[in-house]
Symmetry: C2
Subunit: 526 residues, 2 copies
């Protein structure tokens, strides 16, 4: 079936009449057919009503049924075949290999959450048996599990049209937790969104689930997103995007009669610390590695290395010579949207025009529309500390080197940074003691600390944290990538002396689900 | 040492000069000596600076050292002996037995968190070993643990001068997580607060911890509390009190340049559902049991049963006859403060003056100042649904019966309730199917669902949830009682390819701490 331009509301395909949205091929600047009809209050109302209706049944689907549903979504996405890849290429300017890889990641993520759901530890089942003879008072029978929060609003991201969008990590983890999802599709890739949305809709039908488990709305501007977050039936929000967009949703959520959690992954400049021994040992290789990370995918990653910190000296000059050479040869990359491209050019111009900032290198000149010409800047520690605007994220292949007089200054700057998704250490054996002093600072600033790698590339696994203190995210207690992401959409409920036949299966005597549980304080599978 | 009226800032005893606070004996209306000096911006600044200074060292104390510290606090509180109980009696009007019990609970709570800290599951350690040969890309070594959020502001509650105050559950769980604590003492029991604060201060010294691990401030009005929550070094807030107080702190926290989580336990009317078969079988006993729960401690519990729901009919009349008789004989209880007493009288007067509300019974008349004369009211389902003011909490021994025409109406009302700490079911075997339909509604409304008990009485254990959707609390994903409370003060950090000697002990190969960890996806002690 060709792309229709319609929204998905439960089992229906609904034409929005509030606005008309077209995707643009950023590589050519051309408008792509068809037109997508943006929805309004009526469609938000209907999607939320269906999600609410579906919630109680969906959250109590058995673990196996829920896992099978996530796997069915993965299969349906794969079944879209090359149509999905081609449409995503046209809408984003991203190359085929990247999008095929991203599809693999998206499908793998859904399957990983299926495994998480089946294993069931996320229920955090706890049983404190009754102590009827305890003095001075008996203890009742107390049992706890986690349940789904309620319908969740998910905002697709522009920079990962598959892995952080309609069927991405927020949707996968919310569905895994038992929450129906209403997606506001990103207007930069509506066709990709429709295809993935239809795949999820087909999985809902195939698995015999209530239709309200999934809906997807289009809309230009912020109106429909605001209405969605304000709807009383929505109980949590997942968002990946700009600081301005994320904080706007945080405000809407906090102003509701019933405030709700917002999980917004927003803004990070991902500092890279080039430690002295590492620089001495391999400045040239570091320069090349850094530029490869900086320019990958046009620098359009949340974890793109936006600042570098190093102690001034000959080793840093060697690094710079290598980085400047590599960057000078870097081909321009088509950016995701004209808006993102304009913001990049604006950010780069602001740095280039800042008197305290030196332009070290630019990449190859642009040869087509919406291209990102990479940029490397330098400033002093003093200037960086004096000018908060130098901490602002420039989304794309631009990075700022902060020349530090010594390691102590580097640590001071680390302490003054805003919250980050990542902090990277390039270090050798002789740097260990200096790094030991930095780690406590970095732990407070970032969700992930990495050594001798580059921050781009986020593994989907048990131990990943793609999160961090504000403004990297709105909630440092969580991650939006990896299995811990499911916890964002859960809350604990305690059952006291409830008759056995009314207890949820996860909490029954004899452990019928074979869960890891905490029984009378002891972990085990009893 | 006699009570000084001084604040505790780290190792110092500091006289506040901003205001003068006296405790009042609510039973006599008399002012108690000494005067307590309220602090201001300078003391907030100093307490927060010390907490920040202490944070990195304190959060990395070993599990054994941290547990021993919590146990030392418990011992120091017990060492205060009868002076603590007598001062608390004078300041709160609560009887000796209740306060001795509360002391036992407070000490037990600290010891339980010591056990939790030692066991270490809260670190949620996860290790995904490197897969260097994986195709198309190798996997790096990824390890995750949880770390403390940062210094925490705790607001003591008026109604539990020990268990939810200076050394109560918020403080115990924040310290267990590794967060320094700055307490804003409740002005209703400043002497009790000073004694407990000094006990904690002594434990800090005895355990050789940095002095900033604990401070305690006095202050009248909301100024000092607002300054504390707004301080950039504070990273989370624990609060037990009124809806107005809690939402005010939520607003301050959300408006910060870096918003922080607020865990406010606020307002709950704790519905009790009297199911038909239970009423038929034991209406008389239920009436007596209900009044005992309603009037316990002057009704000054967060989980006090503020509304009753039942289907009209002869069994309900039997229940009411029993309840009215019991309530009529209920002695008046001294309330905690003149302010709480005035608010109770106001709330009762509003109900009594509501045309849709019938006064069924009042307890015995007051014989002294600040006493609570219990009250039982009734209204119709229709009136309750039409008037949101009937959902407002009246703190004290007052309850409102909602006469329902049928079970379906009872379920409709359940669905219209605001968030609650508890929902109670009085039920017999023949009620099972009706209750089965109610449970999904109650799970969405309350943190704890209990059968055939009364909501007052909150066990401190693994499975407890003392929480619930707004406005019962500000964050339904948490509990303020029980071991899960520690999770409020933690956030995950991921370490990628970090050299072994820099890894935190919890994440080292060979599991030196003997923790439950998730290794390559499998739970175990490896």
């Amino acid at each position: 079936m060709p792309i229709t331009g319609n929204m998905i509301i439960g089992a229906d395909s609904v034409r929005g009449g509030e606005s008309e949205i077209y995707a643009v091929n950023p590589a050519s600047g051309e408008r792509l057919e068809p037109a997508f009809g943006g929805g309004g209050a009526a469609e938000v109302e209907r999607a939320c009503a269906l999600a609410e209706e579906a919630f109680d049944a969906f959250r109590e689907t058995g673990l196996e049924a829920r896992a099978a549903f996530l796997e069915a979504i993965a299969a349906q996405i794969l079944d879209l075949g090359d149509e999905l890849i081609e449409r995503a290429m046209a809408e984003t300017g991203l190359p085929r290999a990247r999008l095929e890889g991203e599809r693999g990641r998206t499908v793998g993520q859904l399957r990983l959450f299926a495994k998480v759901v089946r294993e069931g530890s996320w229920l955090d089942a706890r049983i404190d048996p009754a102590l009827p003879d305890r003095q001075p008072l008996p203890r009742p029978d107390l049992r706890q599990r986690h349940i789904a929060l309620g319908p969740v609003a998910v905002f697709g991201a522009s920079n990962f049209p598959l892995a952080f969008s309609v069927g991405g990590g927020d949707t996968a983890s919310a569905l895994a937790a038992g929450c129906p999802v209403v997606v506001k599709a990103h207007s930069a890739h509506p066709g990709t969104s429709e295809l993935v949305g239809r795949a999820i809709q087909a999985a809902v039908t195939a698995c015999g689930l209530p239709e309200g488990v999934f809906s997807m709305l289009f809309g230009s501007g912020s109106q429909i997103g605001t209405a969605l977050v304000a709807d009383p039936r929505i109980k949590a929000v997942g968002f990946t995007g700009s600081r301005r967009g994320g904080t706007a949703l945080m405000e809407v959520a906090a102003a509701r009669p019933e405030p709700i959690p917002v999980y917004a992954e927003m803004s990070s400049i991902n500092p890279v610390f080039l430690m002295p021994a590492a620089l001495a040992a391999r400045a040239d290789a570091l320069g090349k590695g850094f530029v490869a990370s900086l320019t990958m995918g046009g620098g359009q990653f949340c974890t793109n290395p936006g600042i570098l910190l190093a102690v001034d000296g000959p080793d840093l000059e060697t690094f710079l010579a290598s980085a400047v050479e590599a960057l000078g040869g870097a081909a321009p990359a088509t950016m995701l949207t004209p808006g993102i491209h304009a913001a990049f050019d604006e950010g780069v111009a602001a740095l280039a025009g800042n008197k305290a900032v030196q332009t070290l290198a630019r990449g190859q000149s642009c040869t087509g529309p919406n291209q990102c010409q990479s940029a490397l800047f330098a400033t002093t520690a003093e200037a960086f500390l004096a000018d908060p605007s130098l901490q602002e994220e420039v989304f794309g292949s631009a990075s700022l080197l902060i020349r530090c007089p010594d390691l102590a200054t580097m640590a001071v700057i680390a302490g003054k940074l805003e919250g980050q998704l990542t902090a990277t250490l390039q270090m050798d054996g002789a740097d260990i003691e200096a790094v030991r002093g930095l780690i406590p600072v970095l732990e407070r600033k970032a969700g992930r600390i990495l050594a001798n790698g580059w921050p781009t590339g986020v593994e989907v696994c048990e131990a990943m944290v793609h999160g961090g203190p504000f403004p990297a995210t709105s909630d440092s207690r969580t991650t939006s990538v990896g299995t811990l992401a499911i916890r964002r959409f859960l809350r604990p409920v305690c059952y006291q002396d409830l008759p056995a036949e009314l207890l949820p299966e996860a909490l029954r005597d004899g452990n019928p689900l074979g869960l890891w549980r905490r029984l009378d304080g002891e972990f085990g599978r009893k």
